[in-house]
Symmetry: C2
Subunit: 105 residues, 2 copies
């Protein structure tokens, strides 16, 4: 059992989103992405089995999908996506996003 | 790909914490627990393999562990625990907690 204080562990960067690898095990991988307004995790995918759970912890922006599609994303929103399905995030405000990958990449 | 608005889907109950089963698949199970101040998910465990990722989305309280142990828990805190390890949550304020279970129970 291990507690992680994401606010203490991960900040923000001017140049690009800030990534903090919180946890990796045979069961899951946990990553925290922090975005300044306008920063983006570009749409991408990995051709492997499994799912991603993206949870917006703070702020507002968009979940990005294939062919330029997007959905508004705000604190309390969760996106479930196959790892193989194109996905991304764009921030409108400062945004903290938690990603849980199962099984881990 | 599916977006879930936890604020829209799950509220609060006077009698006990409010549970919303957000997602279940062969890879993971995603559950949202909302607590009024003082409400508690009692310490429990399941004797199976796998891990839990508990993320505090809003509010403050405690992560509970075996033998009466506890750790302060606030928005942005994440607890990683084996499913087999005793774990629980107690709310001090209104609290929204996201739980991702991998592999699913």
């Amino acid at each position: 059992m291990r507690k992680i204080d994401l606010h203490a562990e991960n900040g923000f960067k001017d140049t690009t989103f800030s990534v903090f690898h919180a946890h990796a095990s045979p069961y899951t991988k946990v990553v925290n992405f922090n975005f300044e307004p306008g920063q983006e995790l570009p749409v991408h995918s990995h051709d492997i089995e499994g799912e991603l759970v993206l949870a917006v912890l703070e702020g507002e922006g968009e979940f990005l999908a294939k062919d330029g599609a997007s959905m508004p994303a705000k604190a309390g929103d969760v996106l479930i996506s196959d790892i193989a399905e194109p996905h991304g995030v764009r921030a409108a405000t400062r945004m903290r996003v938690l990603v849980v990958i199962a099984p881990p990449i």
